[in-house]
Amino acid sequence: MKKTLLAIALVILLATPALAGSGELFLYIWSEYIPDEVVENFTRETGIKVHLSTYDSNEAMYAKIKLAGKGYDLIVPSSDYVGLMKNENLLLPLDKAKLSNFANLAPQFINQPFDPENTYSLPYMWGSTSIAVNTGTLGTTAVNNIADLWKPEMDGRLLLPNDPREAFSLALKLLGYSLNETDPAHLEEAYLKLKELMPRVRVFDSDSPKQALLSGEVSVGVVWNGEAYIANEENPDIQYVYPPEGFSLWMDSLCIPKGAHNIEEAHTFLNYLLRPDVAAIISSEMGYSTPNAKALELIPEDVRANPIVYPADADIQRGEFQNYLGDATKLYDEYWVKLKTDN
């Protein structure tokens, strides 16, 4: 009995959170999205202890920040959520004076429409959502642009993201509009286009579309480049296409939420992540693209030369970042429900 009590007392002691505010940092991020060694080196250099907690989607993170509101010092929302959280006053402005390494960022990743001037957000990683095609089953000429997805031969062989914004991006780009379109007339056009595409779709999957591509269940999929990178490593026939009509870019940024206690430590960490050597480690470990221009020279050749990770500049020009669309989001969702239920 005594032993049990002792064990319980120990557990209680271990579980009681230390008081925040001095030499600590609470980072809220996707699992495995930052290499352990980067965090350990930071603690070694600065003495600041980093606590990681994780979320599985932007929606979940947003709900937790909005409801709980405190306890987290840094979050990593995607671009549209930066826009949303900025509009709802859930973010604190960054102190640029403390970010001496800000200049290392490449110009094409700063001052984006979702956060002009980067008042609230720092780019962490970026990538694209585009078309992965199995040239083994379809041949090399079958899919070169978005319009090709509508071809009858794609019947039942296509995978789409389970996400209204990403699906609409295809139709909007095909029609020559912005993927942040809010005009109802244009959205209706896009909806009608997508309606024609529905018979081609076999799977909706945003979580692990590489599985369906690799197992041969689908021959062509609209996926994000991290998935395409893995699929291509396993099966070189799976190629990644940046269509001429344009495509969707994604970016995860670091932000300080309202209610953060350790603002000083957060800035120290942000500045550390902006260092070229650190950004290079992150990019090579994760196989994702860094927005840090100075880090590029330090990244291993095989990663930097891979167009799935680092597309050519001419291709990047055609990409567009998602912004938060306010009320228009409802329209997207309504059309999306219609698309998925009308068949």
Partner: protein
């Protein structure tokens, strides 16, 4: 012939239940990183797991909370079940109903309502709030399993004990508890599993200082689940099976 059908059927049921676990165990030794095709035998994921302290920490935290919340839920749940079985009082039906409502409620409703409650009372989210959340989740299940066990009781035994001068406490301790034991053990194991698996309630009720394993694994969607998670799952299954076997041995020895 009938025997053959029976055996085949039972075999199929077991196959259906355990095949996924076997596949996962096999893949935890697969050299290929994305575990789609077999690329040779390796132990490197177990090595990786040893260095992945954040994952191991989360696993230890998960096991800790599961053991503590299952134990507390067992104590509370058994008391509730005994009360419902033994006494007739005002509001008994309401308590009954509320237990079933708790069992039927979607996790997300329980999670958000608990979070709102914790925030309203000004508690810091962390170990304690998570523990309360998991106990809340488990109590109805324990109460239901133990109550159904009481249902099969011969209540005359209790009456006889009272006639022979046993106090309420003695009745509970020496008659009710031993009889309820199988239900209690089942309730404990069920609670342990519920707590270990739970994602949604944990997400809402825990804070940045106490992150549990399911949340860690769930949040890997962005980059894909790595094979060291398979390795960790195999280790956890081995621990669980060993614990069950050991407890059975202990119970047998007692008898």
């Amino acid at each position: 012939m009938r025997q053959l059908i029976k055996t085949t059927y039972a075999g199929l049921v077991y196959l259906f239940l355990y095949l996924p676990l076997v596949v996962m165990a096999v893949y935890s030794f697969n050299a290929s990183k994305y575990s789609l095709s077999w690329k040779g035998f390796t132990l490197k994921w177990y090595g990786k797991l040893l260095t992945n302290t954040t994952l191991i920490d989360a696993a230890i935290r998960s096991l800790t909370i599961a053991v503590i919340s299952a134990t507390i839920a067992c104590i509370l749940g058994t008391l509730v079940a005994f009360m419902l079985h033994q006494y007739r009082f005002q509001g008994r039906r309401a308590i009954f109903g509320s237990l079933f409502i708790m069992m039927m409620s979607p996790d997300i409703v329980i999670g958000i309502s608990l979070l709102v409650l914790f925030l309203a009372t000004g508690l810091t989210l962390g170990f304690w709030t998570l523990l309360m959340g998991h106990v809340t989740l488990c109590v109805p299940f324990v109460a239901a399993t133990v109550y159904s066990r009481f249902k099969g009781f011969d209540t005359h035994v209790i009456e006889a004990a009272k006639d022979l001068g046993a106090s309420e406490y003695q009745v509970f301790h020496q008659i009710v508890l031993p009889m309820a034991m199988p239900g209690l053990i089942a309730g404990w194991l069920l609670s342990f599993t519920l707590s270990l698996d739970d994602v949604i309630i944990s997400f809402f009720t825990t804070g940045p200082t106490y992150e549990v394993l399911p949340l860690r694994i769930y949040s890997m969607v962005r980059l894909g689940i790595k094979p060291d998670v398979n390795a960790l799952s195999v280790v956890m299954i081995v621990i669980t099976v060993a614990a069950v076997l050991l407890s059975r041995r202990l119970i047998k020895d007692k008898k």
